[in-house]
Symmetry: C2
């Protein structure tokens, strides 16, 4: 069966028009991206030094200095460049374009004559190139630079960075490959696999696809490349991540033999995304099936309700099925972004809302919590339960911050957030080979979609994610028969859709979560969608220990939390009553405008005594509890936060 | 106010006669101590190598070999010797005494001519002696050897080891002290402070007391000795335990300025015990008050219901008030033993059941869980909640074992358990300066207690801890007026006491938890105590997050748990019903004879689906749950275990 089912509609053809995602995109373009540029140029006070752009000047010989930063500091520049390119597509800006042009030129000057590009090694350790693919991120940085190259090209039509990366790829091909005189290696941190496929699709040059497939095929095979590489460095055995072994790098088995999500969660997500690209471009069903099982394992057994993944700090990694602690979670922002990349690719091969539901969950919850409302501060770790003094005093909680920092020594998350939301248009629509239009993500926007016979303009108006009413004005150039398939989110219990006032029979027309409306569409047609949103309780599988007897509040796609700032200390003592009634109201003055959910609940009373244990019954009082969207937490006074709350057991035997 | 209030009755005068503690003592004497001797001599298969006794032979020049083991391996021998000495007191054994005599002789041969005693440094690094008091445990080992010396003397009348340690002390006094040419140092791991006081009390020689006080007084003062010592070793800043700093060693402040229990929990307990000894021997009320506040902090805000202390793995340490997670607890067996040492000393200065209640809690729960029912396997870490696959896959749970190992590379806990239970007689009675007899701990035993004017024999019969009926036959040599003060455990809600059938008015006669019965006692008098034991629910202070909405079962002094072996997987889904009825029955065939507690409860049903989240209500079924004493957990098939169970909220507003 063919895996070429859908092609996503390019963001160039999708224009957000205000609304939640539109304003978020504007914030990132107007505030975050310039702010990040300042940080990369070390012009912002009060944040860790970056030196990321200076490193390129040093490598280019324009500045005399030592390299500074993480060994993968180059990737910060690449990701910023990618995000900035996307922002040019959304909002042309000659000044910004000029900055990008100069940056690309600088990158070209930092490139060595043989095509090698990596400022750390060029400047600090030129004799160590390619000696530690496991740890030293050369291919990782190259991958991000390739993604930037393709984005820059899409935004400006200029191939400067693509040319640079083409030359670097040629150089790589002299070092890496199946031939006896080359290294049969692959990157410790997957990333280049998906990036090479972007290069392939942009240029048509198969060398990129071959190299990507090579990386996917070699990974985890025997003899283990990381082991042989380590022996060559005179290392005895694995000297890092011993508790996880090669699972950390998803190199414990060949990719096609992997069945569970293991190891470092960002590496895993990028790997699965790249492997999905290869499955599609080479039409390999076996690999697709492997990835589908991995998808089911990640999202069915190892994913948080906020679409966070990565349940333990050690190795920033997965642990085991149903192990989802709320307070010691890792939940790296980058990992949820990687999950979206993975979802996107699976979706195009297998049109099923299970993928786009997760994209929606991530963009409104676990990724969005990674950026502050003002766009300038970021979370690496996204907990679902926080008590500040515990984070301060318990070393096993120290990875959980209670304020978003302005930057990090390892700054992978901020630019990842930027590039995702600036390119969010890429995730909203697809077109199938049969010329069906798929609508995955809802936002205020207009889209220009080319089918074989006709161009279709869609104008979508909605107050998503606060309101589930969506109107779609359908304007084909001329009347024509085609299908519009609209996702019905799995959280929606009573969806209604009508076309020009005529109800659509959803149950008869729904396929894998998409209502497929095939008709002769005419200019002026209107689809009215009503996905009622109301705050409801979600429960967790009883196998998830930490959530036994608890419930979370979700409204539409938005997961809610309670913060000390609105309530009190001791959130663990709140008990959601049996017949809780939620009061839901949009308040434009709170947290940049959110629907606030309030309800009467019980709260276990403090004890008079300070003692730890007592035979007495607990007492409760009534309280009013205010819940706000999880993504908006930690934008006010630091304090406790909790997503999963105790629920009064409703036991009817 | 005088701090010389009570003196404990020596174990020589207390003979356990079967019963729970008696049989436990027999097990340790007959099984555990010989087994441990075998391990120390590397004669037991399947456990890590010890080499502890061989190290002494090597140091004595009798064997040519390298030192093997931890830098403090000598302490394993010392603690074993101490336990074996106590066992001689309980059960004379000429063969065992001969072994001890030979061991003492060997230790003497391993002692260097100048008095120095430590096989690691004598054999491996003689030029490094006294260069790292913070880390290298020379004083710690000396302390344990001193405790062994005093025990050996008490058991045999032989002063051989006391003489060896006297010589070592003289040597120490040439190295350590306030004089300018000496080190104003103190041990990284407190232990010698309390041991020196034992030497002082056994010999009357004030040099021991002075040195102990010196250690207590110097600790944590400025300039920080560990810092200056580290600088002398060319170390830049603190190179271990940086997350805790000097709190790890309770050297962040002078002892008299410390207000909360911080750092490594065993170090803390031994330090507080040693400081309590100094407070008493020097009649320093200020120091006593400091320790009372520390006691209140430890037991009031940082102690588990099982009397475990130490809430985090990092540093095996305390974290903060009310932070008591059940699954990532450290709860080192040695720390609960140290807590008993601390309690014992405070009790003698301040007759208050708050101390003896904790001793009772520890000996029936958090210490006892550290030894298997067959006496040959030991726990270091004592969790209150376990799921084996989580311990296997989560690195932040790896310190929790799901089977007791036979031994450890760091083997401090096993011999600690042995020496505590063999000397349990020391903790059962005290006599005040006014000649009152205090009865702290109840067990089948007879005790010979000397008051000023009369000797009193007490014969106690009880089926404690399964039954709270205790009969005490009081037999003074002749009639005489004195007081017998009997502890009323704080868990007992309706105590009854009668003398010769006449009820005692408890409320009129109780003082700090002890019912003081002053009368003219005659031979043949009989005290009948009834402390009704029934399984009851205990709740935790609402500030203890992990226990919100949960309850534990306690019966008398025994805390209960549920194990998978008796129930099922998924213990987190059990809900104790509102009006739970407990069925309690002693079963001699289970777990060496325990009262089993059974009850009908609810259990959240498994989901049909494997998904993580759902809007559906949870469903419950009725189940029968069996709880067993916590100390007896993990003696059958490994599986889940839980102390704190969900409780149906009983909300009446």
């Amino acid at each position: 069966m063919n895996l070429n089912l859908l092609n996503n509609v390019d963001m160039k053809n999708v224009k957000l028009k205000g609304g939640f995602l539109g304003r978020l995109q504007e914030l990132i373009i107007d505030e975050t991206i310039p702010h990040q540029y300042g940080i990369l140029n070390d012009m912002v006070e009060g944040v860790p030094k970056s030196n990321a752009i200076a490193n390129f000047r040093i490598a280019a010989g324009e500045q005399k200095d030592k390299f500074y930063g993480m060994i993968f500091q180059d990737s910060d520049v690449a990701k910023w460049l990618e995000a900035a390119s996307y922002s040019l597509i959304v909002k042309p800006d000659p000044e910004l374009e000029r900055i990008l042009d100069e940056l690309v030129e600088l990158i070209g000057k930092a490139q060595e004559p043989d095509g090698y590009l990596n400022t750390y090694f060029s400047v600090s350790q030129p004799d160590k190139k390619w000696t530690n693919l496991r740890d030293w991120h050369e291919l990782y940085c190259a991958g991000h630079m390739m993604e930037a190259a393709v984005a820059y090209y899409k935004a400006t039509g200029k191939t400067g960075l693509i040319d640079i990366m083409s030359k670097f790829t040629d150089h790589m091909l002299t070092v890496l490959g199946p031939e006896p005189d080359k290294k049969r290696g692959y990157p410790g941190h997957p990333e280049i696999e998906l990036a090479l496929v972007k290069m392939y699709k942009a240029t048509g040059d198969e060398k990129y696809l071959k190299l990507s497939k090579f990386f996917i095929d070699e990974r985890g095979t025997e003899p283990n490349f990381f082991e042989t590489e380590a022996e060559a460095r005179n290392e005895k055995g694995l000297n890092i991540m011993q508790e996880l072994g090669y699972k950390y790098w998803q190199a414990h088995l060949p990719v096609r033999e992997q069945t569970t999500a293991e190891g470092h969660s960002v590496r895993a997500m990028y790997l699965y995304a790249g492997a999905a690209d290869i499955a599609r471009e080479t039409q390999e069903r076996e690999l697709f099936e492997v990835l589908r099982k991995l998808w089911d394992n990640v999202t069915g057994k190892r994913m948080y309700i906020t679409a966070a993944v990565g349940s333990q700090r050690y190795g920033e990694s997965f642990s085991l099925d149903y192990d989802l602690p709320n307070d010691t979670i890792y939940g790296e922002t980058c990992a949820s972004i990687g999950l979206v990349f993975f979802a996107q690719r699976m979706l195009q091969m297998d049109p099923d809302r299970k993928y786009s539901d997760v994209i929606e969950k991530a963009i409104y919850n676990g990724i969005l919590s990674g950026i502050s409302l003002d766009g300038k501060k970021f979370f690496y770790v996204n907990p679902l339960e926080v008590a500040p003094e515990v984070c301060e005093h318990r070393v096993d909680h120290r990875h959980v911050k209670t304020r978003r920092p302005g930057w990090y020594d390892c700054a992978c998350c901020p630019a990842n957030v930027s590039r995702l939301y600036t390119s969010i248009g890429d995730y909203m629509y697809s077109v199938s080979r049969e010329g069906e239009i798929y609508v995955h993500i809802f936002a205020n926007n207009s889209a220009n979609i080319s089918l074989n016979d006709v161009n279709v303009e869609l104008d979508v108006k909605t107050c998503y994610p606060w309101d589930g009413n969506i109107s779609i004005d359908v304007n084909p150039e001329h009347a024509g028969e085609f299908t519009i398939a609209v996702r019905v989110p799995s959280w929606c219990l009573e969806p209604c859709i009508s076309i020009n006032g005529q109800p659509v029979n959803i149950s008869e027309n729904i396929h894998k979560g998409y209502v497929k409306m095939k008709r002769t569409w005419k200019p002026g047609d209107k689809i009215d969608i009503c996905y009622p949103m109301e705050a409801r309780l979600v429960r967790a599988n009883p196998r998830i220990r930490e959530n036994a007897g608890k419930a979370a509040i979700q409204r539409g796609p938005v997961v809610y939390c309670v913060e000390e700032a609105d309530n009190f200390q001791g959130l663990q003592n709140i008990v959601i009553p049996r017949n809780v009634k939620f009061d839901e109201k949009y308040d434009k003055d709170i947290l940049n405008g959110v629907v606030v959910v309030e309800f009467k609940a019980y709260c276990q009373e403090d004890w008079d005594s300070e003692e730890c244990y007592s035979f007495d019954q607990n007492r409760y009082r009534e309280v009013k509890v205010r819940a706000i969207p999880y993504y908006a937490w930690c934008n006010r006074t630091p304090g406790e936060m909790m997503v999963w709350l105790r629920e009064e057991a409703c036991i009817e035997i």
